[in-house]
Every structure is written in structure tokens, then in C-alpha cells.
Symmetry: C2
Subunit: 304 residues, 2 copies
């Protein structure tokens, strides 16, 4: 089947539909869908300073490209990039180069924050001193916190991440299968109201775009030359759920979209149910937390 | 590991825990857990007339046994059984015999309602005249309706079904993966408030007991001599989800419990979200429906 719109050779078959698209029509479709999500969920508004969490990979460079394009069109939006250097040999050095090159080419300001500087140790050091700890779990806690803190210090009003529909479908299912439904209440295309100055609202413009679509976009736009994979692949449960969802999707196209659509339908009531929990201040570091001591301080104590 | 309580030889390892139990301790545990669900969710109260949907299989005979025992202890509860004869050669004839024998032995009144008498045709006839229709889908619509109608005519105040934790976990996941979350809002240990006299509230006392636990109970109590399987096995999606959950459960014990526990946590808000839809009366048959014409009348028209 040729491209639905211009009848030339297709490059992609869209999931959840019988539609084929050529390179140029796919790129239009992709950007339109991201912008639609931004408008529909009011992810970005006039005078926003959007900090894009940038790992140098396909998701974040695609996001940076799309949002930078938007900021050039709508001049009242400012877009800058933030890279967290975890200190992972064999992965981070290359991806920092990719991110720097990309930002230089597109004249985007790139900020870099590092575990070494912030926490005194690289992730490699933490892991070698704590071999029984799962690297991805430690990294998740520190990265989330540092992204928020740095964005706040840099006076950003939104923190954008490259999470796609596959990531979200996996998280929804994982939280359910592990009875962590409270975690899900903090998900969705946008997290945080912006009323608490300690939290920079997090937004996911690629929320309704699949992993395959984002990878295709990055490849067609020449945003990446190779796939850089982190050397730590220790979140085996997520990989298992990813494979399971990919298998279901292949047999029953539309499964991932349905899962996320079901979730979006109940999300407002879910948020209400878990709203009661008040956020305090960590007694050690002063960062926001729902306990006495925040996750970062607890984990830092554990691993030192 | 011996039985946790009496240190004799175990017969079962409980899912989601490291506990082994012997025959007698397992039977106590099983009945206690069903009764706990009944009390906690107020499934059965004084002066209730409980109609047990009885297929003659392991789930429904176990349920009938447990509820009949309860009614002998708490004299203000009446328990009778209702069997739906779909007209399935090679399956139903045998299971009717099992149900009749069981009810005679335990002095339980058994009512039988049949598709042939109610709808003019057996399921076998419907299927042979409509080979493209999925037998399990047709059967589901007619069985649910006939169970409600017969229970109402027999003046039951509750309709109890043998659904277990595995059934519920599968349904929760299926509804999500097919974006049918509204269906899930009508699930849970108890459905229906009892305020609308057209609907007999449905209850599931085995809601927190696994398929394996129910089968073990039925076997240990000698309630069944063989496993009677329906000859129509056409709900292939459910089987796929069942296998997927069984595989996850084996690798990550407690997965099914977690899935159902997450669901129970959001169920009250889910019910609120979907409460708005008013129930009317089918213009053809007068039974309750959310459309103009009920599912039974629509399907009857389609297949005739």
C-alpha cells in the first residue's frame, strides 16, 4: 500500500491502523501529533521556559528537535537542554559528545549536571562499591531528583522528557502487577500543577507516540547516527513487561494504545484519590518529600 | 517444609507466601478466607436468599458446598442452586448429572433454566446456524441475562458465582488492554446495590482465592471426580491472558494478587466515574438495559 496522503513509497505502517506513510508525510504526522498532545494537555504555554531532559539518545534528541522548532515558531517559548552525567564509562562519554554536537548545530543552550559533582561519586563508583544494588534503581532516584533541582535552579517552568507510549504502557502495567497504583497516580502527560515552586512540572509531549514512531523520526531526520545503549541493563522486570507488550501488540494491534487510553480515562479520579498526601521538606537536605527524609538522602546514606 | 500450623505433611504451597499447609489446615484456611470476603464486603446478610450459579464444575460446587455449610450454621440464610442448561452436547449432560447428584446428597434445591426453553434454541443450534459467531460471546450474553431473570423470578436476593482471583485478574487486564475500562467498573466482589429490583446483586465469595486453591479444595473435599471442560473454547484472548499471567506469577509470585489489589484500591472511584449512565427498559422484552434494545434482544435478532 502506498502513502495514504501522497501515494508515493511508504516508509512506515502506523500502529493501530491500516495507514502507510512516506517519509515526508510521516514527519508531518509525527510533529502534528506531538503538538496536538502539547495543546490538548496544556503542556506548554506562552512564556514557558522548557528544560528538555537530554540523554543524547533518540527520544530526547527528537524531543529537543521538535520543541526547539516550536520555540522558533512561537517566540514566547524558551527551550534549553539539561544533560545528567551519571558517570557511566562506555556510554555517557559518547552520548555527551552527541548531545553537545546537536545543541551546537541547533544553537540550543545545553546545561550539564553530574552525579560526581552533586553526589561526590559517579554511578560506576556507586555500583562497584554496592554490587548488590540495582544500578537502574539507584540511578532513577538520583536522576529524577537532580533533573528537578537543576531545572529549578535554572529557572525553568517545565521539565520535558522524551517518554513515549511504550514507556508509559510498561509503567502502567508494572505498577499494577506490583500493586504500586499510587505511583501511577503521578503519571500521565503532565505531572505537577506548578503551584508548588519546589516542583517543576514534568511534561511528556511524546506521550501518544510509540517507541517505533520516535525511532523512525530520529532516523529519518538524521538526528542520530547510532543507537547508544546504557551499559547497565538491570531493570529486568521492565524488559520482561516490554517484551510481553510487544508480543501482544503484534498479535492484537492497538493493545498499547488501549492500555494507555484506559489509563488516561481513569487518571483524573486516580489523581483525586491519592491527592491527600501532603508533601513536606526533607529534614536532611530541604528538598520536597512525602516522608521525613527524602529518597535521595536515604539512598545516599545506604550506599556510603 | 511441613504444614505451618500442625507440622504434618503439606499438600499445598500457598501462592504469594512461603506457607505450606496440610489437608486439614488448608481446608480451614480456604473456608475462612471465603467467609472473610463475605463479611468484609457484606456479600451475604441475614435473611438473604442466595442463589448459587451452578455449572457442576469445581468452582461452583465448591462455592455451593461452602455457602450451604454457612446456611446450616447461620439459619437465617437460605441457599439454593441454579443451573443454566445451554444445550452443549458432550459437556452439559454429564455436568447436569454431577450437579443433580451433589444437590441431592446435600439436600440443596436445584433449579434448572435452559436456552432451549427460554430462547427456543440450544447453544449448539445457535452455533451451527451461525458458525462465524463466537460461541463463548453468545453464551455470555444469554447466560448473564438468564441467571439474573431466573434468580429474580425465584425471589433470590443475591446471585453468587464461583469466580476466583484468576478470573478477575484476567478480566481486569483484558478490559484494560482492549480499552473497556467501563466494563471493569461493574466488577469487584459485589456488583449491584440491590436498590433496583430488576437486578439481583451478584457476589463472588471466592474473589481472593486462586484457581489453584479452589481446584485443590474441590479435589480434597471430594466434590468432583473429574474435570468437565466445556467443548467450546473460543475465547482465545482470555486463554492467552491467562497463560501470560500464569507465567508472570511463576516468575514473580504474588503478581495476580497485586493486580487484583491495585484494582480493588481504585474500584470505588472507578464506580463513581461510570455511575452516571442511567438504566432503562428494553423496548422489546422489558428487561433492564443501558440502550433502547437490550443485548439479548439484539443478539437474538442477529442469530435468527
Amino acid at each position: 500500500m502506498p502513502c495514504k496522503f501522497c501515494k508515493t513509497n511508504p516508509v512506515i505502517n502506523l500502529p493501530n491502523s491500516e495507514i502507510n506513510l512516506c517519509k515526508s508525510c510521516f514527519i508531518k504526522y509525527f510533529e502534528k501529533k506531538a503538538i496536538k498532545t502539547i495543546k490538548q494537555y496544556k503542556l506548554i504555554e506562552k512564556n514557558d521556559h522548557v528544560m528538555v531532559a537530554c540523554s543524547g539518545g533518540k527520544d530526547s534528541l527528537s524531543l529537543l528537535y521538535v520543541l526547539n522548532k516550536l520555540s522558533l515558531k512561537e517566540r514566547k517559548i524558551k527551550v534549553t537542554a539539561l544533560l545528567i552525567d551519571e558517570g557511566i564509562k562506555g556510554y555517557r562519554d559518547d552520548s555527551i559528545k552527541d548531545a553537545k554536537k546537536f545543541c551546537k548545530e541547533h544553537k540550543i543552550k545545553l546545561h550539564i549536571a553530574s552525579y560526581k559533582k552533586e553526589l561526590g561519586k559517579t554511578l560506576d563508583q556507586m555500583k562497584s562499591q554496592n554490587p548488590n544494588k540495582i544500578a537502574c534503581s539507584m540511578c532513577g532516584v538520583f536522576r529524577r531528583s537532580l533533573l528537578n533541582k537543576s531545572s529549578r535552579e535554572l529557572k525553568a517552568t517545565k521539565l520535558a522528557t522524551g517518554h513515549n507510549l511504550d514507556d508509559e504502557a510498561q509503567s502502567i502495567l508494572m505498577n499494577q502487577l506490583r500493586n504500586n497504583i499510587a505511583l501511577s497516580s503521578r503519571m500521565g502527560p503532565r505531572t505537577g500543577t506548578g503551584k508548588d515552586p519546589r516542583f517543576i512540572p514534568r511534561i511528556k509531549p511524546f506521550y501518544f507516540l510509540t517507541e517505533k514512531e520516535v525511532a523512525t523520526y530520529a532516523f529519518l531526520k538524521g538526528l542520530i547516527s547510532k543507537f547508544n545503549e546504557c551499559t547497565y541493563n538491570e531493570d529486568s522486570y521492565r524488559f520482561e513487561i516490554r517484551d510481553l507488550l510487544n508480543n501482544l501488540e503484534q498479535k492484537y494491534p492497538g493493545t498499547k494504545h488501549s492500555l494507555v487510553a484506559s489509563f488516561i480515562e481513569i487518571l483524573p479520579t486516580l489523581k483525586k484519590s491519592f491527592k491527600g498526601k501532603s508533601i513536606g521538606i526533607c529534614k536532611t537536605c530541604g528538598e520536597p518529600t512525602s516522608s521525613n527524609i527524602c529518597k535521595v538522602c536515604n539512598l545516599t546514606k545506604e550506599i556510603n
